[in-house]
């Protein structure tokens, strides 16, 4: 067993770390200030343009896109370090194209859809959204009731979706809907591509969340789309949707590792120099235990990520590993960030430090892509079944 990353991926990680340190970290002060003043913290077009230019020059573009779409097609193992580095900063940035739906589309598009949707998306020319959650079905998407009914050469969709990210900016949305009520998630849920501006697709309201996030509630009312908009096989929309979640969960685990390491660095630096009652905080057992737990748990998370990524690159099913990583990573980062905030005292509560932004970000992460409790439940069920 070899725990060394290949030379070229170590070099890539080095390049990405430098990019984060030299290009993204310097933007943090402005991001924090904007967030504190209540404005969105997103980077402006003027801030993004030079970053994208650098990404192009460095080949940091389409890292996980397949070669035929002009991407670098890096293995999951190489991406662990990339996402970890990005997680260290609160400057909101992902290497373009930001394409969480890519893997789902790769597994499902036909030739026509590949050219019309996938390729421009993989090049970073379009933005997409995914609409799974409903007011009555979140953690349990199999309980969705949005219906798509075949009508001649069209599908007609009716229903309500909620918590949808980026739907206002998106050029198209992948909408999940029930096509066979009797079969449900076992062959009765399909995925559809709905273009922006399609009549019957309406954003009903914006909902503000913590961490500067904003999601939307979407109403589909007699939304009519041609059959060519069916993504993948009718009734088989659930499995590719799960595939998308696996990729995302590994990515989230790596972000969490980066966040936790940053918080740990900050906590250690502070504990060494802050003196209370005549002694540095570093000498107090309560702080030492936070540090000890954090180094142990971040080490675990790193090994979990390497393990899952290696298996995924070998083509193994890593659903279980992805669940563990999503659960463990988000809870670990939550604790380390919270301890770091505590160690900083009042300073830890300010909007001058990135810790509070990290705390809000990881708080959201414990809900989306499956709440912790659901992952625990799934993991336990799987294990219990093995012994039954």
């Amino acid at each position: 067993m070899d725990f060394e990353l290949d030379e070229e991926y170590r070099m890539l990680n080095e390049t990405v770390s430098k990019f984060v340190d030299n290009e993204l970290m310097p933007l943090e002060a402005a991001v924090l200030e904007r967030e504190a003043s209540g404005d969105g913290y997103e980077l402006s077009a003027e801030e993004l343009a030079p970053l994208y230019e650098k990404c192009r020059a460095l080949g940091l573009w389409g890292l996980d896109c397949p070669e035929e779409t002009g991407g670098a097609d890096l293995p999951a193992l190489a991406l662990v370090g990339v996402n970890e580095a990005l997680g260290r900063t609160v400057t909101p940035f992902t290497f373009p194209p930001d394409s969480p739906n890519l893997h789902m589309m790769l597994a499902t598009v036909n030739d026509e859809q590949r050219e019309k949707y996938l390729e421009p998306y993989a090049r970073g020319e379009t933005i997409s959204a995914i609409a799974i959650s409903e007011p009555g079905a979140g953690a349990d998407p199999a309980g969705m009731i949005t219906r798509a009914v075949r009508d001649g050469d069209d599908w007609v969709i009716n229903g309500r979706k909620i918590w949808i990210s980026r739907i206002r900016e998106a050029d198209f949305a992948i909408v999940m809907a029930v096509t066979d009520v009797a079969k449900g998630s076992r062959g009765g849920i399909s995925a559809f591509i709905v273009d922006k501006g399609t009549p019957g697709l309406e954003v009903a309201r914006d909902i503000k969340l913590i961490g500067g996030h904003s999601n939307c509630e979407v109403v589909l009312e007699d939304c009519r789309i041609p059959t060519s908009q069916l993504l993948g096989v009718e009734g088989q929309g659930f499995a590719p949707m799960q595939l998308r979640l696996i990729v995302r969960r590994l990515q989230m685990g790596a972000w969490c590792l980066g966040m936790a390491n940053r918080a740990l660095d900050m906590m250690c630096e502070h504990a060494n120099q802050r003196v209370t009652f005549g002694e540095p905080l570093a000498n107090r057992q309560s702080i030492q235990w936070w540090v000890a737990d954090a180094v142990t748990r971040t080490h675990c998370l790193k090994l979990m990520l390497w393990d899952a990524a290696t298996k995924q690159d070998n083509g193994d099913d890593v659903r279980t590993e992805a669940s563990m990583i999503k659960l463990y990573g988000t809870e670990l980062a939550t604790d380390v960030i919270d301890n770091a905030m505590q160690a900083f005292g009042a300073m830890g509560m300010t909007k001058e430090l990135p810790l509070q932004m990290m705390a809000q970000r990881v708080r959201l992460m414990r809900i989306y892509e499956g709440p912790s409790e659901v992952h625990r439940w799934v993991l336990a069920r799987r294990r219990l079944k093995e012994s039954s």
Partner: protein, 250 residues
């Protein structure tokens, strides 16, 4: 023009290096290693010369342990064409390293050897000068600007009194100072290309170099910890302390 560029594997500049508990040297176990930053500047300069059509081939050379292949590979990812690793497990002194370079110069016949002005591990600032002495080539150290014109090189050097401009004839040995350039990062396509470039392995013995040490390391210890300073009330008190306590002014 063919350029030999030196890359040394050292502890990353961000690492706080500690002495081993038995005082036999720095403790480098599990420490992040990197290319010496001044070597990185030398590599960058060579790559720019190649991009400007001045250099035709860049050979990255490292003298060090097998793991120093990583730094040679990084130089290849930054734009060097091929690499040479002079493999040794002993921590060589500048003279032995310079002799390795002299032997490689005899084989490769480069027009220029580009090095960092010093490596941030030993901070010796000797290897470049020694290579120049051994080869008999002209030398310019602490370069902050290099201009090539035919077989003449004009180098602006950073010296204590300011900037000094010297003109040399090729072949020459030039060492890079901090302000010579700002090194790029290795791009992903170049990292992938670097995989296919060759690194030749050799040893000081194969090069016929006597590496026996001239210097004996007696003890490696951390510098004394800085005492906390004192706050003075006013300028008069400061002057009084400088005069009577520190005795640095009279």
């Amino acid at each position: 023009m063919k350029i030999l560029v030196a890359v040394k594997r050292v502890a990353d500049y961000n690492v706080k290096v500690r002495a081993k508990s038995d005082n036999t040297g720095p403790d480098l176990a599990n420490v992040k290693m990197a290319i010496n930053p001044f070597c990185e500047i030398a590599v960058e300069e060579a790559v720019r010369m190649k991009e400007n059509g001045i250099a035709s081939e860049i050979i990255a050379v490292s003298v060090g342990p097998q793991s120093a292949q990583e730094q040679v590979r990084t130089a290849l990812a930054l734009g060097a064409d091929r690499g040479i690793l002079v493999q040794t497990d002993t921590d060589l002194e500048p003279l032995a390293i310079a002799k390795c370079f002299k032997a490689i110069c005899d084989n490769e016949k480069p027009d220029m050897v580009l090095l960092g002005k010093q490596a941030i591990d030993g901070d010796n600032n000797q290897t470049g000068q020694m290579i120049a002495a051994l080869t008999g080539w002209s030398q310019a150290t602490f370069a902050s600007e290099i201009t090539i014109d035919g077989d003449a090189v004009t180098v602006i050097r950073e010296v204590d009194a300011g900037l000094q401009t010297v003109k040399l004839k090729l072949p020459a040995v030039i060492t890079a100072d901090l302000r010579l350039n700002e090194p790029r990062y290795a791009s992903l396509p170049n990292i992938m290309k670097a995989k296919k470039k060759t690194i030749d392995n050799t040893t000081p013995e194969e090069l016929g170099v006597d590496t026996s040490p001239r210097v004996t390391l007696l003890k490696a210890a951390p510098p004394a910890e800085r005492q906390a300073g004192v706050k003075v009330e006013d300028v008069a008190e400061l002057i009084d302390k400088l005069k009577n306590e520190a005795k640095v002014i009279s």
